[in-house]
């Protein structure tokens, strides 16, 4: 039997391959060796020079991504700021209402404005409290700034309010530091001024004086702030003057209020009824 030896040339590639694999394995193992670190450092230096021009492209791409992310964050933060501002305003208004409620001598029913129609035609406000909450027709509606209006219709859990800016609204008022009384109304000129009639010209009324309810009406308690005098005009052909008032209440931002659970003195009410009966 003859033994056939494989020639070196037949397995040349396998031998070369095995050698290369051994070199590769040696490199992999030696990679962590301290003596090899200088070679690695040199190769990293070379690659850093090669990579340097491309790093600008990478930085640019990264900057674009970062920019997009930051824009998104900015929008979210703006939204958050806007929401927080809104909450702060609401918080301020509620705190003021709370203070007013604690200092008031009357019971109050806190209400929220459900709808607000201040377009100039049949201005009215709908609130979320009605007869079930003790709200009755004629009760004044106020907020921390002053008088809002009076209740004109009540349902079980809702009521309609006649605001200052309604031609049907009337209130007996008094101007501070004087004994000037008059009737406050709105003449539908604009949604920023009310007018007081029937104040004699002999009574000097300066701009900036505060106006509040007089208490002469049985419908409203005295000293509810209403607004500030902005100008006066003598009424032609009469001895009275017209006093224009800018209300304290900002109807644009009005969202919460209180209904003053004010009940007129029964004796006064009875006297008024008897008076009306007597002149029927």
């Amino acid at each position: 039997m003859r033994i056939v030896f494989t020639k070196i040339g037949d397995i040349r590639d396998q031998l070369i391959g095995t050698g290369l694999l051994i070199i590769a394995l040696t490199l992999m193992v030696a990679r962590q060796d301290d003596a090899f670190q200088n070679v690695r450092k040199a190769s990293l230096t070379v690659i850093s020079y090669v990579e340097a021009p491309l790093s600008n492209v990478r930085v640019y791409r990264s900057a674009l991504r970062t920019n997009a992310a930051l824009e998104q964050n900015t929008i979210m933060l703006q939204d958050e700021v806007s929401r927080l501002r809104s909450l702060r305003e609401e918080n301020d208004a509620l705190r003021a209402l709370l203070d007013m409620r604690e200092n008031s001598e009357y019971d109050m029913q806190p209400v929220r404005v459900v709808t607000k129609n201040l377009t100039g035609i049949n201005n009215n406000i709908l609130i979320n409290a009605g007869s079930n909450q003790g709200v009755q027709v004629g009760m004044p509606v106020v907020n921390h700034e002053g008088l809002v209006g009076t209740v004109i219709i009540t349902a079980s859990n809702h009521a309609q309010v006649l605001p200052l800016f309604n031609r049907q609204f009337r209130a007996s008022i008094n101007i501070e530091d004087s004994r000037a009384y008059g009737i406050l109304s709105w003449e539908s000129g604009n949604l920023s001024e009310l007018v007081i009639n029937f104040v004699p010209q002999t009574i000097p009324v300066a701009d900036g004086l505060r106006v509040h309810t007089s208490g002469l009406s049985s419908q409203m308690p005295p000293n509810i702030p209403i607004g500030k005098v902005v100008r006066t005009e003598p009424e032609p052909g009469r001895e009275t003057q017209r006093i224009y008032v800018r209300p304290f209440v900002n109807f644009t931002s009005l969202a919460e209020a209180h209904v003053l659970l004010f009940h007129p003195d029964p004796e006064i009410t009875q006297l008024e009824e008897e008076w009306r009966e007597a002149f029927k």
Partner: protein, 156 residues
């Protein structure tokens, strides 16, 4: 094709440069195409095995040096030449259709990337446990796509 060591080294250098400066940065969802793998396949298709082993080893070693992988490319590409040279050179003579070429490149790339990732894990270069399948299959498909594009651009 006429064998020319100088020309092949220049082509190897071009592929090496493309790999380092271009394809390392053209990653898609973290996947990279290995154009040096395509170069080695090309060498296997047009040169004899001993020659291909030499060229592949030199270029793989250069790639190892420049990517700080030290031996991983050399090992896997040497195995690639040893294992695939005969198949690739035979199929190159058969003038395969583009679809068949794509499937051939993809099949070899899947085996090659499996070896490459296992060797990388052994060398402690990549922690491939979490994304093993993604890198394995994803890199193979990406490389095969680039390969078929090269093939279509360079074929008659």
């Amino acid at each position: 094709m006429k064998q020319s060591l100088g020309l092949d080294l220049i082509i190897a250098f071009i592929f090496l440069t493309m790999q380092i400066m271009l394809f390392r940065h053209l990653d898609i969802l973290g996947l990279q195409a290995d154009v040096m793998f395509l170069f080695v396949l090309w060498i296997c298709a047009h040169r004899n095995r001993t020659y291909a082993l030499g060229i592949a080893a030199v270029s793989a070693l250069m790639l190892d040096i420049l990517t700080d992988t030290w031996g991983v490319h050399l090992f896997s590409k040497t195995l690639l030449v040893l294992g695939a040279q005969r198949l690739v050179s035979q199929q190159a003579e058969n003038k395969l259709l583009p679809g068949q070429t794509f499937m051939l490149i993809l099949s070899i790339a899947i085996v090659y990337n499996l070896v490459f990732l296992l060797v990388s894990s052994f060398a402690g270069i990549y922690d491939t446990n979490l994304m093993f399948i993604k890198y394995w299959i994803g890199n193979s498909v990406y490389t095969a796509l680039v390969g078929i594009i090269f093939y279509l651009l360079t074929s008659d």
